[in-house]
Amino acid sequence: MTPTPRRSRNSATIKDFAKAPQRLNAWLFTEMPLARVALLRVAVFAFVVIDVLKLHTSGYFHGAADPVWYKPLVIGEILSLPAATLLMVGLLKWGSVVFALAAMTGKAPRALGWATAICWTWYQYVAFAYGKVDHDRADFVIALFLLPTVGLAHLSDERKSQAAGFALRAVQLAAIATYFLSSIAKIRFGGWEWVNSATMARAVVRRGTWVSDWMLDVPFLLHAAQWGLFSAELLSPVIFFLSERWRRRMVLAWYLFHVATYAAITIAFYPHLVMMLAFLPLEEYRDTAVSRWRRWRAARENQTT
């Protein structure tokens, strides 16, 4: 090769490198549809209601536990949060429900959004400050506190905004960080031998179902699954460098993984499932669904007349 093209290639790389901050800036503040934020908010607030009423209720029962079991977390020490009582957990639980339902109307998005965020996060704190922290709920805090920063966003909004883009990016980043950082946690706490350990067998012994119990008799399956999961988690940030089509396929693959996990050990990281919606063009899906339904209804009316 002649030296000329090589030099130009080098200078192109340097120029690319110099442009990185600009590119990152443009990527973080990409204009995205406000309707997408509005739809994601509905999903997030609906989840809050279902979560405090049905899914994650241990916080409520801690109101009955003796304060001797209370182990304040760092954030509770900083804010001097007291041990729970039945009155306190009642207020947090119903505060979450009332504020989330009000926030679903889309009115006063900041005040109602942050009120919901504070109630729900505090309620989770109560659930976790008695010795056991669930490791699937931290990313949802990001969604609750950042989605209100977008301000007013209507379901029928046709505008795009950088504030919407930033909030959606932040939720995407938090959701993928969950996967990536759980692979880091496996290296840190389980060591590199985690992939060859019996962690999944242990999970199936403790929480197995008819879908998974047979796997204990075929130990290499669970062993291979550990390698697969660990690799997928470690490589999860790749999702940000894929084409839109492959990005959506990857989101689908993660959803399928969570379905399989639920079938095998009845564990689902529900708040995280809501977070992953931030990758999808929710408003386009909604529009497609609505127009299909209209066409179907029109066709049926034509048949009857």
């Binding site: 536990a65 505008r159 930033f166 946690a185 350990s197 962690t199 242990r202």
Partner: protein
């Protein structure tokens, strides 16, 4: 990705309506850096007490292929009946779940009377039920060999509390 028709319908300044000023971008960028630092720090050097920045360590520990898998359970007594009956070690029943009690096993061994607070919590949650006059903690082990259970299980009582006798550590 999205159709070009999805731009604003309003005229004039509406094009700028979606753009953020320098200040609005700056605080968001600073916040993002702080969050990244918090989550990375939590994962690399933090622990559960850092929640929500605690490490994502679900199923992160290694289990030896030939170890035993142990779970805790509680058994209770009611007045006038010396038999110990299995009951649920879950929030609905005693205000705490299994992992929370398992995590405090050393403290329970230091002060077995802590088990008595489970009877109080049960009375708070289920005032209509007969009061518990005794609570004891047992550990059940399932033995694994080469990632499969051998069928062998072991059970031992760790500590007990009774309304009449208080807390005591059961001989190991």
């Amino acid at each position: 990705m999205s159709s070009p028709a999805r731009t604003t319908a309003a005229a004039g300044t509406a094009d700028d309506a979606g753009r953020l000023g320098t200040g609005a971008r700056a605080w968001r960028a600073v916040l993002l850096v702080a969050l990244v630092a918090g989550f990375l720090g939590g994962s690399l050097v933090g622990n559960d007490h850092w929640w929500p920045f605690s490490p994502w360590r679900m199923f992160s520990t290694s289990t030896s292929p030939d170890a035993s898998v142990t779970v805790s359970a509680i058994q209770v007594q009611v007045a006038g009946d010396p038999t110990w009956v299995n009951t649920g070690l879950n929030p609905e029943n005693v205000g705490l779940n299994r992992a929370e009690v398992e995590g405090r096993q050393l403290e329970i061994e230091d002060d077995p009377a802590m088990l008595g607070t489970l009877a109080e919590a049960h009375a708070r949650l289920h005032p209509a039920d007969e009061e518990w006059t005794g609570v004891r903690l047992v550990r059940r082990s399932t033995v694994l060999e080469d990632r499969s259970p051998t069928g062998e299980t072991r059970e031992r009582v760790v500590a007990e509390w009774t309304a009449s006798g208080g807390g005591r550590l059961v001989d190991q």
